[in-house]
């Protein structure tokens, strides 16, 4: 990242020089180049080899208020715009975490006589932070990338808005900013950056909170219905839940290896 930015500034200043055609500007550009950057990791930051999530859909069904609590916690903190058209969510809406029906969520589970109760439940959907993410594979600028801990994140400043990642993601996890999102945020949270029009965005597994030792917002708001932890650690909360319960992942046959599991 650091190196990339330097490289960019070098190229940018070179082209600027070319345009200006004046050697006198050289020192100015050099002075504008940044010095060695550095960053430190907070002592209390949370680490994992591979972050994963287990959603207990039974608990959500028992306590339907949780759906709203979870999605609002995420969207209001992350400055996700609410875009409505004629009182309905716009087909150009932006969403990081949302709910839908059984058949919309688990399109591979084409059981013709599903349990009534299971069919009635609502299911949370969000980016699966796939181990083998199609979105990362197709992105032509590395604006979407996978971190060492398995979280798939984006650099909104590098994204060119080609939307190849949206065609690539088979889960509909990504949203594009068709318009300036800032006009559609009721109250801006100044501690988290807003995005601009023309770039793609999606759930970050709250990587910015993990970095300061906090759990993701949806997990915190879920009253224990969502577990979050290291999928490679057999002792983690998520692995224990997976060992004890029958779970599903969305579209597992496509080979992207989602890290979000659902307890039915």
């Amino acid at each position: 990242m650091k190196k990339d930015r330097r490289q960019f500034l070098k190229v940018a200043s070179l082209s600027f020089l070319g345009v200006a055609g004046s050697a006198a500007l050289g020192p100015v550009c050099q002075a504008a180049a940044p010095g060695e950057g550095s960053f430190t990791t907070a002592k209390n930051a949370l680490h994992a080899k591979k972050w994963g999530m287990v959603i207990d859909t039974r608990k959500f069904a028992e306590n339907p208020e949780l759906y709203n609590a979870v999605t609002t916690a995420c969207h209001s903190y992350h400055n996700v715009p609410t875009i409505v058209e004629n009182g309905m969510p716009s087909k150009r809406e932006v969403k990081w975490i949302w709910t839908d029906g059984y058949h919309q969520t688990f399109t591979d589970q084409v059981d013709n006589y599903p349990s009534h109760e299971i069919e009635q439940r609502r299911y949370l959907m969000l980016c699966n932070h796939c181990e083998n993410p199609a979105c990362v594979r197709v992105c032509p600028t590395k604006a979407t990338f996978r971190r060492k801990d398995g979280i798939v994140v984006m650099d909104y400043h590098r994204c060119i808005g080609c939307r190849y990642c949206m065609a690539g993601c088979p889960f509909g996890a990504r949203s594009f900013n068709f318009m300036d999102p800032r006009d559609h945020i009721a109250q801006v949270n100044p501690t988290f950056p807003t995005r601009m029009r023309g770039v793609v965005e999606k759930c970050t597994f709250c990587s910015e909170l993990l970095a300061v030792g906090k759990m993701p917002l949806c997990v915190e708001a879920s009253d224990g219905a969502i577990a979050f932890g290291d999928l490679t650690d057999p002792e983690s909360s998520v692995r224990k839940l997976l060992a004890e319960n029958f779970t599903l992942r969305r579209k597992p046959t496509l080979g992207t290896e989602p890290s979000v599991y659902y307890i039915l």
Binding site: A134, A143, C159, I160, G161, R163, A167, G198
Partner: protein, 387 residues
């Protein structure tokens, strides 16, 4: 040679001016898109690519199709195409420029386009597509210019251009193959996830591209008296006939696999295209059926020598063929890729007025480029006595 564009007849300049007006109109609407974002299009979260990317795909095919003249000439020493080969190469240049403009028009942050070069990402097919398209543009500019310059001085083209031409033949196949790979490697888009997509793209390109070229040549004959030669035209129509036959055959292969296997995911996009969704036909359904009819009729007309070699029927055949292949690739291909959406729902997409106007402007740029290049080529031919 460039000075040739400076000496034209008044109708030629009126033509250029009208194209310029369309370009201006498109550019003006594009400014709105630039400031308001892609909300001026009909695109949505579920159908995130549409008319622009579809036109890009179609025009890559038109660009690649120049090879249908170049290959017989240089691999089989078929002399009859020599006279019109430059027109094909120059049309390819216009087509590539159109492709690039459509890509930029589709971007949310076009000013960052250089990020693709600054951060080269070999695992992204889009990166490769940009590379092969730029390469193809350079190759055609070089080949076109050098061979035309030689024609002007009535000498043989320099020897070193031969290997470049051979390279361009393989390159032409590569541009459309890579463009098909943009789609064919995506999990969960069943309509695109097919090993035969690149072959289908090439077949459709090799019938529609030469058909467009031939239509323009017939127009040229009326306007300027330039005659590509009876035999050249007849050979080209045969090539178009075979390519169209293969194109239709490949499409039917897709239909067989989807419906004989009975796998729902493979059937749904066809169902949406030809039947509609939730019991209602989609607007594209009518278009698709029209394409089916036009594809069959045009194929029959071009398959049989009596209608194929009939000069008054041929233009209509070609027009039908171009429209049918355009609906398949320029409308159906993209819509069916996103229908049903990842949630097995149907989100309707239709291009907006802004999208269509901008597209018109981009096509006008292509027409402008081709008009100027062809003007140069024809004037050179007149001087050299090869008109």
């Amino acid at each position: 040679m460039i000075e040739k564009v400076l000496k034209g007849s008044p109708p030629f300049y009126i033509w250029l001016l009208s194209l310029g007006a369309l370009v201006g109109l498109g550019a003006t609407v594009y400014l709105f898109q630039l400031f308001l974002g892609l909300q001026v299009t009909g695109l949505s979260r579920d159908v995130s690519w549409g008319f622009y990317i579809a036109q890009f795909t179609y025009m890559v095919g038109v660009a690649a199709s120049a090879v249908m003249l170049v290959l017989p000439t240089y691999f089989h020493h078929y002399k009859k195409f020599k006279k019109m080969i430059i027109l094909g190469e120059f049309m390819a240049i216009g087509a590539v420029i159109v492709c690039m403009l459509f890509i930029v028009a589709d971007m949310g942050q076009p000013q960052r386009v250089m990020n693709v070069i600054l951060h080269p990402t070999p695992n992204s097919v889009m990166f490769w597509d940009m590379m092969v398209l730029s390469g193809y543009l350079v190759l055609n500019l070089l080949i076109g210019w050098v061979t035309l310059e030689a024609e002007r001085h009535q000498v043989d083209p320099p020897k070193w251009i031969k290997p470049v031409i051979y390279l361009s033949i393989f390159w032409a196949f590569s541009i459309h193959t890579v463009t098909a790979f943009l789609y064919a490697g995506l999990p969960g888009r069943h309509y695109w996830l097919t090993a035969i997509l690149a072959a289908r793209f090439l077949a459709s390109a090799f019938c529609s591209g030469p058909a467009i070229l031939l239509l323009l040549c017939l127009l040229l004959r009326r306007l300027t008296g330039f005659d590509a030669g009876k035999e050249a035209i007849q050979t080209l129509t045969k090539i178009i006939a075979y390519a169209m036959g293969i194109n239709i055959f490949f499409y039917l292969l897709e239909v067989f696999t989807a419906f004989y296997s009975g796998i729902p995911g493979h059937q749904h996009p066809f169902g949406a295209l030809f039947g509609g969704g939730h019991g209602h036909p989609l607007w594209v359904t009518t278009w698709m059926w029209a394409a089916v009819v036009m594809a069959i009729v045009s194929f029959l007309l071009i398959a049989f020598p009596s209608t194929r070699d009939n000069n008054s029927i041929l233009p209509f055949t070609l027009i039908m063929l171009v429209i049918a292949s355009w609906i398949d690739k320029g409308l159906g291909m993209l819509i069916a890729g996103f229908t049903p959406n990842p949630f097995e729902g149907i989100t309707v997409y239709a291009p907006s007025f802004a999208e269509l106007t901008i597209s018109l402007g981009i096509y006008a740029v292509g027409a402008l480029v081709v008009s100027l290049l062809w003007k140069i080529a024809l004037d050179v031919k007149k001087e050299a006595g090869t008109f």
